[in-house]
Amino acid sequence: MEKIKGLLYICGIFTFTFFHNIYLYILLIFFLFVLSGKEFIPIVKKTLFSITIFSSVVTASYVFINGFDWQYITLVNVRVFGITFMTFLFIKRVNLFKLFSFSENLMFIIVLSYSQILTFQKYLTDFRFALKSRTILKPDFSDRYNFFKRIVEFFMKSSLDRSKEINMAMKSRGFYTDE
């Protein structure tokens, strides 16, 4: 079943990427909305949150270079929304461990990535809570800047340290050898 879902997801990506018809996109997005059921609102919120900055930058750059072509801008933004919504729905509904169970190596990578995501998610929540806990008044611009900078630095350094550690652990367990 998971493999069928995986195949449908690839078909969805193919449709959003190779066809340039906004009505087809809207039909597909409506179908995805129906599939999402009770999770519709949380996934829509997550999707909008994820694409807002990206879509704004892409739209603004396009308008700046090519002028205002509303048809093309709408097409691109609906496409981005559709792919992102479909991906979040896919992650919610599909057990990735089962999907990639056919390959041991892929499974290792999925497990490692998943554990990284969970660890970083916990750190991010703690950062957010710590700022909230220490904030008496609304933080000013420089505090927000320092906080954001620190998070970026922390995750960059942690990613690097953890990937070195994981690399050594994988080597130690015979996942690969230096040749």
Partner: protein, 264 residues
């Protein structure tokens, strides 16, 4: 000493997939030093976040000095300012609390938010940096310090606000033995209401006289004298805080529950 400062009544808290606090009730008096014990995942950290007004119970209520703490209540600026100044939380990982460019700025952060005078801020920052033994690091970024030093910066950043309640989430988990010793002595001398979480039975008695124990089922299974709890084998087993240990005496091997605790 006898005035009730914190009251938790039938609190339940659930994350998306699991309930982590179930029907939790207790009161804490001003000046008390309480230790919350429980295995990993029993809900200790979540309970501290509730007490710090970062998350809110889905059932039951939390009263601080008789005022019910809700999301709406903390939107009241004057109350939020008072609450955030009086109830502070030391996070398990000091890294999540540090984001200012220097140790000085980190300690001064809260005071600046309160709009204190520059001279007062300077005096207080230097006083707490000196008391914590981190004065020489004042101009350094806090991120490059050792685990124990980071913990001291975090503590100074909280204590500089002169809080009434100090919530400590596994405060010794990142400390080496020397820093742990320093921390225990520091806690002993601290004249404040302190609620500390730990699963370290060996240190629990050094952190307070009263114990509140959370089970793996996320309910309170003990609330009372900590020393008495640590001698109660059945309760320790119920909380999953002791384990069966194998021993060898010459050729004879036997196993029994172990606490690694020593009483006078």
């Amino acid at each position: 000493m006898n005035k009730e400062i914190i009251s938790i009544k039938n609190v339940k808290y659930s994350y998306e997939t699991a309930t982590v606090l179930r029907d939790v009730s207790f009161q804490v008096k001003k000046g008390e030093k309480v230790v919350i014990l429980g295995v990993n995942g029993s809900g200790k950290s979540t309970l501290l976040k509730v007490l710090n007004g970062l998350i809110f119970p889905s059932e039951g209520e939390y009263l601080y000095k008789g005022e019910r703490i809700t999301e709406k209540k903390l939107k009241d600026r004057a109350f939020n300012k008072k609450f955030r100044k009086e109830v502070v939380l030391l996070f398990q990982s000091p890294d999540s609390m540090l984001f200012n460019p220097t140790v000085y700025d980190e300690i001064a952060f809260g005071l600046r938010q309160l709009g204190e005078d520059k001279k007062v801020i300077d005096e207080k920052v230097r006083y707490w940096a000196d008391k914590m033994g981190i004065y020489r690091h004042l101009d350094r970024p806090p991120f490059n310090l050792s685990g124990g030093e980071k913990q001291k910066v975090c503590l100074a950043s909280l204590l500089v606000l002169e809080p009434k309640v100090l919530l400590l989430d596994e405060p010794t988990s990142n400390l080496d033995p020397r820093s742990t010793g320093w921390f225990i002595d520091f806690l002993y001398e601290l004249d404040k209401t302190v609620i500390t979480t730990t699963h370290n039975l060996g240190l629990a008695l050094e952190m307070g006289e009263r114990g509140i124990v959370l089970s793996e089922n996320h309910t309170v299974i003990y609330d009372g004298c900590l020393k008495k709890f640590l001698k109660d084998r059945d309760k320790l087993i119920e909380a999953n805080l002791i384990h069966i240990h194998k021993h060898r005496h010459g050729k004879v091997e036997h196993s029994h529950y172990h606490t690694h605790l020593f009483f006078d």
